[in-house]
Symmetry: C2
Subunit: 338 residues, 2 copies
C-alpha cells in the first residue's frame, strides 16, 4: 500500500514513519511506498529507506498534485503549533485550516472524479480543543463527550478540522477518523517557548545532568502520554473498522492524569533523588495562568474500547525515554547508572 | 448608527429590518443607515425607506468592499439552507463557511488596519448543529451545554462559524455573539422542499382553506418558535453587554417544545375543528426519518437570563400569524371569523 504522512519530519511524524517501516504492514497490507511531507526534510534514517519518498515544502502548495495521485491511507499530522497560531493568526488559519481543507478536497476529488474508494485518513487533533469558557467550566476530567470550547486559535482550528472530517466522511468523500492527542512526554531536544515545554523539561534536563525550572505548583495535574502510546494509538485508529471507531466524532487518545509532584516521584523512583533534586520550583505567573486553563485530566472511553490504554505509571514513560536514548549518552549523562 | 443585515431579503431578515426601522434605535442609538445585502432584492416597503440601502448579489463578492467601510453593527443571517447544502456541497461551503469567514476578515481588517473598535456582530446559527452521532445520542432536550455533533453539512458549517466567531472575538477582531435559531413557525408562502416545511404547512394551509398533509406521526416533538420571538431574540443578543451574553459559546434561542398533536390542538382552539380537520396524516418515511434525527426539544437557559422566553403556548404563535396576515385575506380565507 501507498501511505502519506503529513508533518513527517516532526517528532511524532518521524516516529510514526519509523514504526510503520519497522512493522512493514498496515491493516494487513504490505507498505510499499511511504510519502513523507513536511516543511523540513525528514531525518536521514527515514530518507535512506527505499520505500520512503520525501517531499519538502508547505502542504498547501503540495495539495493540488494530490488530486492526481491515489493513496491507500493518510496520517495527517502537519500543523502549526499553539504558540505560533497565537502570534500569527493568518499563519494558523492557513497551516491548520486551509491546508487541511485542501487535503480533504484532494481526497474528495479522488472519489468524485476518479471513482476511488474513500481514502482512510487519521487526523491528529489535540486535547487543546478543551478549555474553560465562561458558561462552560472544564469538568475535573474531560471525556469523549465533553463540549469543546477551545480557548486558543490552535484549539479552534483543530476542532473545526474534526468537524470537517466528520462531514466529509458522512458524505462518503473520505473515511476519516480524528483522534485527540494528549500532552506527549518526554519530548527530546531543548526547552522551547511552548507553555507545555516544562512537562518534558523537568524529566529530560535532570536526566541529562542539568537543572530544570518548573514554572507551576507541584499539585498541577495534566493528562500525559508517551510518544510510543501516541503512535500506537494513531495506528490502531487507522486499523480499526468504522464500526469499532464508532460515530464520526473525534475521540480522546489515552492519558495518564498526573500531578507534577507525581511525575517527580516517578523520576526519583527511576533515576534517584540526585536527579530529582535538579528540579527547582520557580512559579512563572504567565505559564501558570495558561496551564490553569488546561484540562487537569482526561478519560478515553472510546479508545479503551479499541484496546488503547495509557501507561500504568509515569515510571514507564520515563523508562521509555531512557531506552530510546541509550545511544545518545549526553541525554542521559545525569543518570547514575550504578 | 450604520447597520448591516446580510440575508435581508429572506423572511427573517426582512422582518428584522422592518422591526429595526420601526424601533428607530438599537442599543440606544438612532439607526441612520441600514444596509441590506442579499442575493435578491429586499421587499418594496424596505427599499422605500430612506434609511435603507439595498445591495444585491452574492455576499462573498461584496465582502472586499466592506474592508473599506465601517459599520456599527452587523446581523449576519445570509445562508444557503439545509437542503441546498446537502445537494450541492461546494455551494454550502462557499455560502455558509467562506462567506462568513470573508465577512469576519473584513471586520477584522477594520480593527487591525483602521483602528476601529471591534464591530458587534450577531450570527444566526441553528438548532441544526444538534444531531445524534453514534457515540453521542441526542438527549431528551438539547441545552446550551449539549455537545453538537451535526448530521448535515449545513449544521457542520453553522457550528464551524460559531467557533470562528468565538475565536475572532477572543482575539479582539470582533464582538461576536452566535445565537441558535429554533424552527420558526408559521412561515408564510408555499410549502417547499425542506423537511421542516410541514411544521408551518399544517397551520398555514388549513387557515387558507386548503388541505395539508402531515408526513410524521402526531407524537413527534420539536422545538418551535415564532418569527417575532426570533427577531426579538436577535435584537436582545445584539443589545446585551458581553457580561450579560456570558462566554463566547453560542447560545440557544427560546423554544416551545411541542408535539404535532399539541400544535393541532392549538389550531383547533384558535380556529375551530373545521380548520383542524383539513390536516391529514400520511406518513412519509423519508421525511419522518429525517425528523427523527432532529432534537425533540430544547432549553435556553442563557437566553432566559437575558429575559428571552418562548411564547406561553402555540395558540399565541398561531394568533401572531393571523394578526400578521389580516391584510392578506387569501391567507386566512379558511378561517371562520364568525
Amino acid at each position: 500500500m501507498k501511505l502519506l504522512i503529513t508533518g513527517a519530519a516532526g517528532f511524532l511524524g518521524a516516529r510514526l514513519a519509523r514504526t510503520l517501516l519497522a512493522r512493514g504492514t498496515l491493516a494487513g497490507q504490505p507498505i510499499r511506498q511511504l510519502v513523507l511531507t513536511d516543511l523540513f526534510e525528514p531525518p536521514a534514517d527515514l530518507r535512506a529507506d527505499p520505500r520512503v519518498e520525501a517531499r519538502t515544502g508547505p502542504l498547501l502548495a503540495q495539495v493540488a498534485a494530490l488530486r492526481e495521485e491515489s493513496f491507500d491511507g493518510v496520517f495527517h499530522l502537519a500543523s502549526a503549533v499553539s504558540g505560533e497560531c497565537e502570534l500569527d493568526f493568518d499563519l494558523g488559519m492557513a497551516s491548520n485550516l486551509d491546508s487541511t481543507r485542501a487535503l480533504l478536497d484532494a481526497l474528495r476529488h479522488r472519489v468524485t472524479q476518479h471513482g476511488d474508494a474513500p481514502t482512510r485518513l487519521v487526523f491528529a487533533s489535540s486535547v487543546a480543543v478543551f478549555g474553560p469558557d465562561e458558561d462552560h467550566p472544564l469538568p475535573a476530567l474531560v471525556t469523549d463527550a465533553t463540549l469543546p470550547t477551545p480557548q486558543t486559535s490552535y484549539g479552534i482550528q483543530k476542532h473545526i478540522c474534526e468537524h470537517l472530517i466528520a462531514d466529509y466522511t458522512r458524505k462518503g468523500f473520505l473515511d476519516g477518523r480524528a483522534a485527540r492527542l494528549m500532552t506527549v512526554t518526554v519530548r527530546p531536544g531543548r526547552p522551547n517557548g511552548a507553555a507545555s515545554s516544562f512537562f518534558s523539561g523537568i524529566v529530560r534536563e535532570p536526566l541529562a545532568g542539568q537543572e530544570a525550572v518548573c514554572p507551576v505548583d507541584p499539585d498541577v495535574s495534566h493528562p500525559l502520554t508517551s510518544p510510543r502510546t501516541t503512535v500506537e494509538g494513531l495506528i490502531r485508529v487507522f486499523e480499526c473498522s468504522r464500526a469499532e471507531f464508532g460515530g464520526r466524532t473525534a475521540l480522546n487518545l489515552p492519558a495518564l492524569n498526573l500531578t507534577v509532584a507525581q511525575m517527580l516521584d516517578a523520576l526519583e523512583a527511576v533515576a534517584g533523588p540526585t536527579v530529582r533534586a535538579r528540579v527547582r520550583f520557580e512559579r512563572d505567573e504567565r505559564i501558570a495562568g495558561i496551564v490553569a486553563r488546561w484540562p487537569a485530566g482526561a478519560t478515553a472511553e472510546r479508545a479503551a474500547r479499541l484496546g488503547l490504554h495509557p501507561e500504568t505509571s509515569f515510571d514507564d514513560i520515563i523508562r521509555q525515554y531512557i531506552a530510546d536514548h541509550t545511544d545518545h549518552p549526553t541525554a542521559l549523562q545525569g543518570l547514575d547508572r550504578a
